[in-house]
């Protein structure tokens, strides 16, 4: 069973905007360990604002009330903003690399499967090929399942990242949305009716 944004029902998608300082990851990870909140997935990267990082944390909701997770995160001095995207209309994405066993006979089948999942072939050898796939958790799980009969030799997948659809953001600074919208319009992207930025999935 999945929610609107592709995470399982017991899961919560929490986005924390944090100071880009040494030790911040440990503070967050330590907090989750100490309070007994289980992390299903964690992705960290820079934001559009210099000095701030964005952590997307998928929390096992059965292990903790998500409200406590949010409040405890807020107590960390280096955490600037916390958003719960669980019930938001949000885009969630993971990236996975799969090295799948294959030979001259079944390579075409695999390429067909990759096509269905819109996975890219990023490397190929005589007895294997490496696929790169982007999507929500279910889509990646689906590709893995389809590849398993051929032999998945290696799997590497990122944590989930998430972003709300529509004009709403989870950033700290609302940096001139109209200006950004103009830029995107000039690049020929579709802009949804009244919403300024851009739902182009």
């Amino acid at each position: 069973m999945t929610t609107g944004n592709g995470t399982r029902q017991a899961q919560h998608t929490v986005v924390a905007i944090v100071e880009d300082k040494p030790g911040v990851l440990q503070r967050v990870a330590g907090l989750f360990r100490r309070r007994g909140f289980n992390i299903e997935s964690l992705a960290v990267g820079p934001t559009e604002v210099e000095g701030l990082s964005r952590m997307t944390i998928i929390v096992d909701g059965a292990s903790a009330p998500v409200e406590q997770v949010e409040k405890q995160l807020y107590k960390l001095i280096d955490v600037v903003k916390v958003s719960d995207l669980t019930h938001e209309d949000a885009i969630t994405r993971e990236l996975a690399l799969l090295k799948v066993r294959c030979n001259n006979v079944n390579r075409h089948e695999l390429l067909d499967i990759a096509g269905v999942f819109r996975a890219d072939v990023v490397d190929m050898a005589t007895n294997s090929l490496t696929l790169q796939v982007v999507g929500d958790e279910d889509k990646i799980n689906g590709l893995i399942t389809m590849c398993q009969p051929y032999g998945v030799r290696e799997l590497s997948r990122t944590g989930t990242i998430a972003m709300t659809r529509g004009a709403k953001t989870t950033t700290v600074h609302e940096s001139e949305p109209e200006a950004i919208a103009r830029v995107h319009q000039s690049q020929g992207r579709r802009v949804e009716s009244k919403e300024l930025p851009f739902s182009s999935d």
């Binding site: 944090v18 100071e19 030790g23 440990q26 100490r34 406590q68 409040k71 001095i77 280096d78 600037v80």
Partner: protein, 563 residues
């Protein structure tokens, strides 16, 4: 701008933050800092005998004075010895800044001599911590650390500085502004929530206020008193909240919890609206959570939003500074007569007195504490350790003012008493400070007697000597079939020990000696220790057994009453 070394900048900043006393212990990597200390004569350094003592002294200093306490230690073992004290401050939300040295930057992470990853260690027991890698960052770090320690829900902040950062020279620039975008405590309560809280209280027949440590740190005793008097709401406190509401006021009904007063526990259980103010619904105070007064509407006022709903479901949360929230709330409260409800509690108290001291042949600690109360007219500050003596000091002395009871509540740190009392005495030099010690806890930190002598403190040290880990013995008696294991404590002759340190000492073995000993201690201008030999078998009552509900409070059994 002036060029200064990291050490000079650190001390200059401490001075600007108002620090006059540093509790510390030197060692290899902090030598540059100690080398600089004489250049700052306004900062007094108190040499402790163990770093744990330094951390507790800073904590006691903070609790008694309301100012930030500061302790200092070297790297590795010096730093790890602070840990118990820092955790004590953390659990009780007291403002302490702990400063440690670390190995030089080039050696960090190389397992150099006396290196410990101390910021890794203190991270879960501090409100925030810092590893300062450049001398130019020291000033801002100190400003932020003091700001974080003393504002919002207070707490300990740890600053770790590598040796060569102390030595590095840089321009000194005192930061005028602090910009912590991730730290903005809410101070003003949500007006809608305050109105909802007021409506619930106005409608309530049997409201009760449970006030906590936050009233003391929020400096809101007067605001609480005015609110309670206007709406005629009875007030009980948590153990750490003792003194936040005058205990001799007619609306005061003592404190609740595991060893709280019977009538306080019953009132909390009987109330139709429970207003928790500056407290965190801790398990020792509330008993079994799921059976804490299931029908009451719970209103929770606290500055820390994470405490709301953490342990108990809250109907009406108000996040804010009690100093601002309480006057706002009071405005919306009706003046009401609640004499029926007050009479109900009075009757429970009359039928189940928790604080009566029975006639006994042997000397019991309750009597000593009560005599001390009467002799000092409630003006002294009591600093306790953890265990039976702590509970008796909470029960049988009556506190009308905040900061008069200093005790480790959350972490329950034995050995806190003597060093915390030293800190309290140094933070409030004109107060009469009594360290109320257990004979076991005293042995954990008794080396700090030397500091009392060094600093010529007029500290009074009273050991409730029952030769046991009394609280543990009590639990073994009541819940482990009297299977007494490792609870009888052999001890030195405390009077000889005190004498060896140059501390005056008295031994008290009979009831008749109690008052004269207390009087002698009060008249003595220097450190004095009284070794009270008390009954070994005395238990603390009332008691809510671990895991029981407040409604299941047990009073002193008949056989003990008769003893």
């Amino acid at each position: 701008m002036v060029r200064m070394t990291g050490s000079q900048i650190l001390l200059e900043c401490l001075q600007r933050e108002g620090v006059s006393t540093l509790f510390g212990y030197p060692g290899g990597v902090v030598l540059p800092l100690y080398d600089t200390l004489p250049q700052f004569p306004a900062i007094q350094h108190v040499l402790t005998r163990h770093e744990q003592g330094a951390a507790h002294m800073a904590d006691g200093y903070a609790r008694a004075s309301g100012e930030v306490g500061v302790c200092l230690a070297t790297s590795g073992p010096g730093a790890t010895n602070l840990v118990t004290g820092i955790a004590t401050s953390f659990l009780d939300s007291t403002p302490v800044v702990a400063i440690t040295g670390n190995v030089a930057r080039t050696l960090l992470g190389k397992d150099g001599f006396q290196e410990a990853d101390i910021t890794g260690i203190t991270q879960p027991i501090t409100k925030h911590n810092y590893l300062v890698m450049r001398a130019e960052d020291i000033a801002m770090t100190v400003r932020e650390a003091f700001h974080i320690a003393r504002t919002g829900r207070p707490g300990p902040v740890h600053i770790d500085i590598p040796k060569d950062v102390f030595q590095e020279e840089t321009e000194f620039d005192w930061p005028t502004e602090i910009n912590l975008r991730g730290y903005r405590p809410t101070t003003k309560g949500h007006s809608g929530m305050i109105r909802r809280a007021a409506e619930a209280i106005n409608k309530a027949e049997r409201p009760i206020i449970i006030s906590g440590h936050g009233i003391i740190w929020g400096d809101a005793s007067n605001e609480l008193l005015e609110l309670a008097q206007k709406a005629q709401i009875p007030v009980i406190t948590t153990f750490l909240g003792i003194g936040g509401f005058p205990e001799t006021n007619s609306l005061s009904y003592g404190w609740l919890g595991m060893h709280g007063m019977y009538h306080a526990n019953m009132a909390a259980d009987e109330a139709d609206v429970v207003v928790g103010i500056g407290m965190r619904f801790d398990d020792r105070a509330m008993g079994r959570f799921k059976d804490f007064n299931p029908t009451a509407t719970i209103i929770h006022i606290d500055i820390d939003p994470a405490e709301i709903g953490k342990n108990l479901p809250t109907a009406i949360p108000v996040v804010g500074d009690v100093k601002r929230v309480l006057p706002d709330l009071r405005e919306h409260l009706d003046q009401r007569d609640r004499s029926d409800w007050l009479a109900w509690i009075d009757k429970v108290e009359e039928e189940h007195p928790s604080l009566e001291i029975r006639e006994t042949r042997r000397l019991i600690p309750q009597e000593i504490i009560r005599t001390l109360y009467e002799e000092t007219n409630g003006t002294a500050t009591l600093v306790t350790g953890v265990g039976q003596h702590q509970m008796w000091a909470g029960q049988h002395y009556f506190y009308d003012n905040p900061r008069k009871l200093v005790s480790s509540g959350g972490l329950g740190t034995m050995g806190f008493e003597l060093p915390a009392a030293i800190g309290a005495q140094m933070g409030t030099p004109h107060s009469e400070i009594w360290a109320i010690c257990g004979d076991a806890g005293f042995q954990m930190t008794m080396q700090e007697l030397a500091v009392c002598v060094d600093e010529r403190l007029p500290l009074k040290i009273a050991i409730m000597n029952n030769g046991y880990l009394g609280m543990v013995r009590q639990w073994q008696e009541l819940f482990y079939d009297e299977n007494f294991v490792s609870v009888a404590v052999t001890q030195p002759d405390f009077c000889k020990l005190a004498d060896a340190y140059g501390v005056r000492a008295l031994r008290v073995e009979t009831k008749a000696e109690v008052l004269p000993a207390i009087q002698e201690a009060r008249n003595y201008d220097g450190p004095i220790l009284i070794d009270f030999h008390v009954d070994q078998d005395e238990n603390v009552w009332p008691m809510v057994p671990a895991g029981a509900a407040l409604s299941e409070t047990i009073e002193m059994p008949e056989k003990e009453l008769a003893r």
